[in-house]
Symmetry: C2
Subunit: 565 residues, 2 copies
């Protein structure tokens, strides 16, 4: 058999944008053909975007997706690309199934040529596929230039048995999987180990093609790769950027030749870049060109502003200092210093006149008066958002959100929260890492997210550090009353974050936490704060469902542990 | 065989409150025993509450639920109730299954006696059970005093085949189902038709025991019933209230005797009561004793205030009039009139001083200035909520929420939105119905939600009408600029609501809507508004997921139809 050149088209799709996604497939296929590829692989649900959730259940959307696949097959043929095998994911329908299918189709010679339906439909964590899809029933082997290529979609390789086991029995020359696998810290190694296991199972090399880009609250990290039958790495695409790489597959060889292997970022760079990519794509896909946020001089808003500058350039960032009578001079200076370093717009809007206007009528005290300050700031940030068409950013971190240490409709306002899944200790780590990268002259240009032209920001690298050292070093404070410190209300963050990780991430109970050596007072304090905050996070009002199809639902969050063992 | 007295314990459980739910089972079982019952049936997932969503996945919670069931069996025996067969739902675990089970257990003679696991796990609409449970594998027939009682849980009877088909083959004397079936308008008849079909299938009478009460955004309407093998209605419990009724089952009789049959409310009363029960239970389960809301003089806030007064008494309602320079005198008078009729607290907080304070610094125009007014009102309502510990109510209706005709962090603030699933035309209908009921002297006391002592409000019935006629009759206006009318921005509600029903409830596409006879301009306007509002509704900031278990997710709402066919 002859060698087959396979193009790994690791692209960033947009949910619902059928025309835009199809256009991108056409572009990448054209590039791949020029580079001599015979087969081009795109990510899971390429045409529809992923995850499409309940959009799959709209018949009009499914019909439009079907029309798009046919139109695209025709367009490829019109551009003399009909000889290519173009593998794309989409939503499929057939009369035998009650629900649609998560389908891989091959576009070839102007036609939609073959279909494989995903067998294992993940229904845990961020996935709800069993809700919207019917599982596939049969394995599919594609014969391309004499080579037998077995197909699988994402979760199919994460479960034992099923289609991969069938393919192993049938015998294949290559296992090819398309994926929409969301980023999680450290997942790269898990995927490689899994791929090595499956390659051994089918006794053939395996292609793992992953989606890249942010979609709502998910970030897909790309990092597509090829392993040989013995598990050795043959190719790896870069993380966090669109990419077109090639793997020259020789069906007759015992061992395949190694292609390019992109280096891996270190841990802090990886997480930071994931956050920036998530924000950048949220802006792009929702047509925002700039952001606005409150700059308090503290570490959270400083890190978010740095991420925003990396995502859209400092000129797209509106930083608003909103000092009160309780704001220290240091905080105001740090905010101004940060904005200058980032090249961001910087406005000062003192809140005291509004605070006095409210207080003359309401005369609030205690927590209500503290919340009032945060809410006045929320109104100002939203005024910037409305007046200038900016995306309002929330600057809360995971530690304070978990404990309810924030004000609903105050500092919690915004359309996107870049650091909502970072514990406070991680926020400090990333700020230090970003400064080191800037000092080393790496800056924005060195981040992988500017790996292709779409992500090029074009602005000069910041010199020296990006985030004022004072913002990193000082004791955290909400500055809503004189001398207030976070540690008045919360355990020290070093301790708090370890308890939160065990309680939230590991779903441990009180007995488990005590067995880890945490003291009972801390454990009870944190559990009470987290359980109460569960309710505070429900900022969109609940209300009764009266009709058959009401609006979207609130899901019970997985952190309630109000019972005590 | 002897006759068996079956108690239908239609109770209101609370998710996560294992001890409270168990206490209620003990109380009702004791009452039932005194009335001579041998068997007491409780709703689906009695001990855990329903729906427990991802709480089922916490091992500590499952262990606590298991301990609760054992403790309860012991407590029943200690109170000389060990001879009763007490059927409760709970979460079960076994070593063979990866996920927990939705289980029915029988408590008898101090032990947890038998278990049936739900087979069909609904995974559509508001249900996500396949996500958290493993399906049961075998049917269970219970022998009680010689009678063969087949068991099923909720969705098991909504699907053909499965356990009911097995039971029909085995032969049973009675089919007994426990349910957590959420309210939908008109669902009573659907359930009755279904039950008649299943009773015919198993050739035996069928007991349908449903949960009652509000849980987050679901309302369970109760209305438990018994049908004979020929489908005739033998018993019906009232809707929207806890209830303990009895069915004397004679295993030897060809036809069972009819027991009490509660009357059905008419359509407007049914929907109104569902909304009040949802609000009342949300308050009770979250320990709120009062509410606050803005009273604009318009129909939406008037209806919400009336519902709140019905839920917790007028003395628990804080109505806040927040006039601006654009508020008409009529609006202010109507708000005061309403508060007086309801016996609600009534404060006037003009917003002009705050508006001027913001505008001196920000100088906003257009929509940004309109939103500023709504957000100042939001800050004031939240100040009342914080200062007095009140639940803030959002007053938006489904028509305006669907079209994005509201201000994020403004009129959309609040923890609960009693009319968020009512189209505007329905809001008017319910206001008229509530006035008629008040005029007829029915008032609060006549509503079914005060059918037991827990729901007794004790306050006198309002005399005459409750909701000022002017609020019902006048043209809707947001009063955010001079002379503004809703009809400036939206189609007339009579038309709008029909388009919304087709587009949202029936998931129709553009071609379908045109085929119904709607004009193209209206269809395109409404589709554009709804699709844009999909994004506006996401008020809690999205953010990237970085760790294995992040906070709860946003679900794609089912109304996006941004493509055009």
């Amino acid at each position: 058999m002859t060698q087959i050149r396979i193009a790994l088209a690791q692209i960033d799709t947009c949910v619902g944008d059928l025309a835009g996604n199809a256009r991108k497939v056409l572009d990448y296929s054209s590039q791949a053909a020029k580079a001599g590829a015979q087969l081009v692989v795109f990510p899971e649900m390429t045409l529809t975007g992923y995850p499409i959730e309940d959009l799959a259940l709209r018949a009009t959307f499914r019909k439009a997706a079907w029309d798009t696949a046919n139109q695209l097959a025709g367009d490829l043929a019109d551009q003399q690309l009909g000889g290519l095998y173009v593998m794309v994911g989409t939503v499929g329908t057939d009369h035998a199934a009650a629900k649609p299918r998560n389908r891989l189709v091959v576009l070839h010679e102007g036609r939609v040529w073959a279909g494989y339906d995903k067998h294992f439909l993940p229904n845990y964590g961020v996935f709800d596929e069993f809700r919207i899809f019917t599982p596939g029933e049969r394995p599919v082997v594609l014969e391309v230039f004499g080579a037998r290529i077995g197909l699988a979609i994402c979760e199919d390789i994460w479960q034992d048995g099923g289609p991969v086991a069938d393919l192993a029995q049938q015998g294949i020359d290559l296992l090819l999987t398309i994926n929409g696998s969301p980023y999680e810290e450290g997942k790269t190694h898990t995927r490689l180990d899994l791929a090595a296991k499956r390659a051994a199972e089918v006794q053939a090399p395996m292609v793992y093609l992953n989606q890249v880009g942010g979609q709502d609250d998910l970030v897909f990290d790309g990092g597509s790769f090829v392993v040989d039958a013995d598990g050795s790495l043959l190719e790896r695409s870069p993380m966090f950027t669109e990419d077109l790489s090639y793997f020259d597959f020789d069906p007759d060889a015992n061992h395949q030749r190694t292609s390019s292997i992109a280096p891996m970022p270190q841990a802090d760079e990886e997480v930071y870049t994931a956050c920036v990519l998530g924000l950048k794509d949220y802006m792009d896909k929702n047509h925002f060109t700039g952001v606005c946020l409150g700059l308090s001089g503290g570490i959270d808003s400083a890190l978010v502003a740095a991420m925003a500058a990396d995502a859209c350039g400092g000129e797209g960032v509106w930083g608003i200092s909103m000092p009160s009578m309780y704001s220290s001079d240091g905080s105001k200076d740090d905010a101004a210093d940060l904005a200058g370093r980032l090249g961001a717009h910087y406005d000062v809007q003192p809140i005291e006149p509004m605070f006095q206007a409210f207080q003359r009528q309401l005369g609030l005290e205690g927590i209500a008066a503290e919340n009032l300050q945060a809410r006045i700031r929320g109104v100002i940030v939203m005024a910037y958002s409305n007046a200038k068409g900016l995306l309002a950013l929330a600057t809360g971190n995971k530690s304070e959100l978990a404990c309810g240490y924030s004000t609903i409709y105050g500092d919690a306002i915004g359309g996107y929260a870049p650091i909502k899944d970072l514990l406070k200790t991680r926020v400090w780590d990333l700020a230090r890492w970003r400064n080191q990268a800037a000092q080393a002259g790496v800056g924005i240009g060195g981040l992988r997210i500017v790996g292709n032209e779409r992500r090029e920001s074009g602005r000069p690298l910041p010199q020296g550090i990006m985030i004022p050292v004072a913002s990193i070093e000082k004791a955290p404070s909400a500055e809503l009353r004189p001398g207030q410190k976070d540690s008045d209300s919360l355990p020290e963050y070093e301790l708090l974050d370890r308890v939160l990780a065990a309680y939230i991430e590991c779903a441990e109970g009180r007995a488990d936490l005590l067995a880890r050596g945490f003291d009972a007072v801390t454990v009870d304090t944190v559990m009470r704060l987290v359980d109460r905050a569960e309710w505070k996070r429900r900022q969109y009002p609940l209300g009764p469902k009266v009709t058959a199809l009401a609006f979207g639902r609130d899901r019970r969050l997985p952190v309630t542990d109000a019972f005590r063992e």
